[in-house]
């Protein structure tokens, strides 16, 4: 098999006549067919692909990093490890200031079931346990670890598990011990998802390799470079959940990853790899379940209620890699990309590395306007680049200061064009919700118009020609409703 056939065509690469013609034609095509336009249908009917209704097609720019192998990043002088870098209760420190720790050593323990421990990402000494900036805003407690730069940085905490002889309970405990959380961005403790509610039976494990966020390619690289660990992780999860099958869903802009996985699939196990349409937000678990199985997670329910458990490929690759070795999660793959990055790429980053260190490593253009942790659609813009990379950070996107910037564009009244209704993946009426938000009818938004189903994917605000900050309105409305309830 020649490599060329399985690779994505490089988009927008200059030099030959084809991109030139394509660019010329792009000017003539309707807005709906252009990248960044909203696909309204007609032409897409002829290409039957697994997908969900609605959604958007932002310009992805994944070609900047898709072919760049994961490179190891040097250790920053000081790593900052927030105790609350996962959902649930913050971890409790096990170390004291001045204590020397070895790479891989547990430095904080889980505080309850919905919580995970933390491990030292490097050999060094605990410098402080103090407040540290976070992307969310308020400072939280964190362990500052000064790295011994001269140390060989061997992981010396290999307890080693024979995972085949472990009981399910032991595996779940081991997943928690490893400090594993959802690496797709949610940072929800993985072992909790392995214990589905009593009223649900898991028959299908869905492995989420969509990576629908523009710019990000870390999951793509994980699928290409850590295929064996990924499959090991899938087999383990299938055993624990009792699932009869596993489906790896990958957007069709990463067909080389599908080929790679298919070539390595064990013949005796019901694991398949399926290409789904490249469309945002394909990687949202509700959307991927709809695309692959045609099922909808009932309102207020969990994927488990339709017999499904969804895991991100990065998480499963880490499970497959760490569990047999008995190690903890101390590093993760991060894509650093965006128009303001000089040398974008995919990096294996020790947890706790300050974003500043990472950005200095890749080089930042003077046009830098905004730094986003996570993806450009759902990620969080940071006020300080001294925040650290935590377990849930899949990418760092640096955008340029742009004259044609959304925030500088005028906001018009809603003209009821209906684009947001056509974009909303869960079929809300963002136009109406936006008007209600302006009228401060937050209660009616939730009771009459399903506000609580919104997962803030940002599709409505992305397409809105009036530039109304719909997603932000909905966030505000939800938080006010939460406050009123309490």
């Amino acid at each position: 098999m020649s490599n060329g056939t399985s690779q994505d065509p490089p988009k927008g690469a200059g030099g030959t006549w084809r991109p030139m013609i394509a660019r010329m034609l792009a000017g003539l095509r309707p807005a709906s067919a252009r990248p960044g336009g909203h696909g309204s249908g007609l032409l897409r009917i002829f290409r039957k692909r697994k997908t969900f209704p609605h959604g958007i097609y932002p310009v992805e720019h994944k070609e900047w990093t898709a072919d760049k192998p994961i490179r190891r990043l040097p250790f920053a002088p000081v790593l900052v490890l927030p105790l609350a870098q996962h959902r649930g209760a913050p971890s409790q420190p096990l170390v004291q200031v001045g204590q020397e720790v070895v790479r891989g050593e547990p430095i904080a323990r889980a505080a309850g079931f919905v919580s995970v421990p933390m491990h030292a990402p490097a050999t060094g000494v605990i410098q402080a346990i103090d407040l540290a900036p976070t992307p969310e805003g308020p400072k939280t407690m964190a362990i500052y670890l000064k790295v011994y730069q001269a140390d060989p940085q061997q992981v010396l905490f290999d307890t080693g598990h024979d995972i085949d002889s472990m009981t399910n309970e032991e595996v779940v405990a081991a997943v928690q011990e490893a400090g594993l959380v959802g690496l797709g961005g949610a940072a929800f403790p993985s072992h909790v998802k392995l214990m589905p509610p009593k009223d649900a039976v898991i028959d299908t494990v869905i492995v989420n390799g969509c990576e629908c966020e523009p710019y990000l390619t870390c999951d793509h690289r994980v699928m290409l470079e850590q295929t064996d660990a990924l499959l090991r992780g899938i087999r383990l999860i299938m055993r624990i959940t009792g699932a009869k099958r596993a489906i790896i869903g990958v957007e069709d802009n990463k067909l080389n990853a599908v080929d790679q996985i298919r070539a390595k699939l064990p013949a005796n196990l019901p694991i398949t790899a399926e290409a789904v349409e490249s469309k945002y937000p394909q990687g949202a678990e509700k959307m991927l379940i709809k695309s692959l199985l045609g099922k909808e997670v009932p309102v207020g329910g969990l994927p488990a209620h339709v017999g499904v458990a969804v895991f991100n490929v990065g998480t499963l690759a880490q499970i497959g890699d760490l569990l047999p070795k008995g190690r903890g999660l101390i590093e993760r793959v991060v894509t650093v990309s965006g128009p303001a990055v000089a040398n974008p790429g995919n990096f294996m980053v020790p947890i706790g590395t300050p974003v500043r260190f990472l950005l200095n490593h890749v080089g930042i253009k003077p046009t830098l306007g905004q730094v986003i942790l996570g993806g450009a659609m759902m990620g969080m813009s940071v006020s300080s680049i001294d925040v650290p990379v935590t377990k849930g950070v899949s990418g760092i996107v640096a955008l340029e200061r742009d004259e044609d910037d959304p925030a500088r564009r005028q906001v018009y009244p809603c003209i009821k064009c209906g684009e947001c209704l056509k974009a909303c993946p869960i079929n809300l009426n963002p136009s109406m919700l936006g008007e209600l938000a302006q009228a401060r009818e937050y209660g009616l938004m939730a009771q009459g118009y399903n506000l609580d189903q919104c997962f803030e994917c940002g599709s409505c605000a992305y397409v809105c020609p009036s530039n109304i900050p719909l997603t932000q309105y909905f966030r505000i409305a939800k938080s006010i409703n939460r406050e009123r309830k309490n």
Binding site: E296, A376, M380, N467
Partner: protein
């Protein structure tokens, strides 16, 4: 280098298409129709379009000044209203009345509701409805298409002095030497004399009528382009036309001598222009996909019912205004079904 980074809320990306571009696209789509109107009716049509557009823009500018919230002319929506209004008026319509129509349309139909995005009904049609009630004779005074002298002289009624009754055009038309001029549009001839104008003439626009409504073909092409650009919900024109044709069909099957064929219904009068450019007005039409279809069929059916059984020759204007009025209700009835809804979750009012 990192000093000036900004914090914003997600999403951090934004599609390029904005309100101004949508409105400008609509203006571009109407330009060929304007050109055809001028070619067909000459200088009078050109002056009429210039007057309605100018008056609409001036009214918008005045009201936005009164409001003190920045100039809203730049969003191009007033230009659309002005051009549309001009296209729906008879080519020889007195200019001062056209200016009144534009003022009423923008002022009463839009600015008083709160400007762009808040109007309940199509402003151009509000303006036209006002002058239809105020000047019933002038708005049904038709002049022949392709008059030989159309580029050298104005239709006599065009320059009527303000607050004066327009003079009669009968003598002027007699002097033009146009053959077979009956003084009626194809719609009126069908309604009162049961003579159906040949299909090709109405489709191509070789007939008399309001300035911009004659060529169904041209309007269709321009409207399709707009839908292809993504600046128009194709469901609305499609369902207006389907609703009109399906309502006309049974009557025509019963008595083809008395009732018009569905094809004639689609190509005659202002239906085509209204379906593509007026019913589809985003602000005044339902926002939900099914709502758009119900709204379109309602307008199409109502148009045919007014045409066949009402006192008026053309009913599309009132059909759309009624459709606009019903729009919010239709929207409320057709809220989309949310992902994962177990039972039908509806707004409890």
């Amino acid at each position: 280098m990192v000093k000036g980074i900004e914090i914003r809320t997600s999403p951090h990306l934004k599609r390029a298409l904005n309100v101004q571009q949508i409105m400008r696209s609509v203006v571009y789509a109407m330009l060929p129709i304007c050109a055809f109107a001028i070619w067909q009716f000459g200088l009078s049509a050109a002056l009429l379009l210039a007057t309605t557009t100018g008056a609409a823009v001036a009214t918008e500018a005045w009201f936005s000044r009164l409001r003190g919230a920045g100039n809203t002319v730049a969003d191009w929506s007033a230009v659309i209203t002005g051009i549309l209004l001009g296209l729906t008026l008879p080519p020889g319509f007195p200019l001062w009345m056209a200016a009144v129509a534009a003022f009423v349309g923008i002022g009463l139909g839009k600015a008083l509701f709160g400007g762009l995005g808040y109007n309940v009904m199509n402003p151009a049609l509000i303006g036209r409805a006002f002058v239809q009630a105020a000047f019933p004779v002038a708005i049904t005074t038709w002049t022949p298409a392709f008059a030989p002298s159309r580029f050298v002289e104005l239709i006599p009624t065009t320059l009527t002095a303000p607050f004066m009754r327009p003079e009669s055009v009968t003598d002027w038309i007699a002097g033009l030497g146009v053959d077979s001029w009956t003084g009626a549009t194809p719609l009126a001839m069908q309604k009162f004399q049961h003579i159906e104008t040949p299909a090709w003439d109405t489709f191509a626009g070789l007939v008399s009528g309001s300035a911009g409504e004659t060529s169904a073909l041209l309007i269709l092409v321009c409207g399709l382009w707009l839908a292809w650009r993504g600046c128009l919900d194709w469901r609305i024109p499609a369902s207006v036309l389907a609703g009109a044709a399906l309502t006309a069909l049974p009557f025509w099957l019963v008595d083809p001598g008395l009732y018009p064929s569905p094809w004639f219904v689609l190509c005659s009068g202002g239906l085509m222009l209204a379906a593509w450019f007026m019913a589809s007005d985003m602000v005044a039409s339902p926002v939900t996909p099914w709502g758009a279809i119900i709204y379109g069929v309602f307008i199409g059916a109502l148009t045919v019912i007014i045409r066949l059984f009402g006192g008026l020759v053309e009913g599309v204007m009132y059909a759309i205004l009624l459709g606009n009025a019903a729009g919010p209700l239709i929207s409320a009835w057709t809220q989309p079904r949310v992902y994962g809804a177990v039972k039908k979750a509806r707004a409890k009012s």
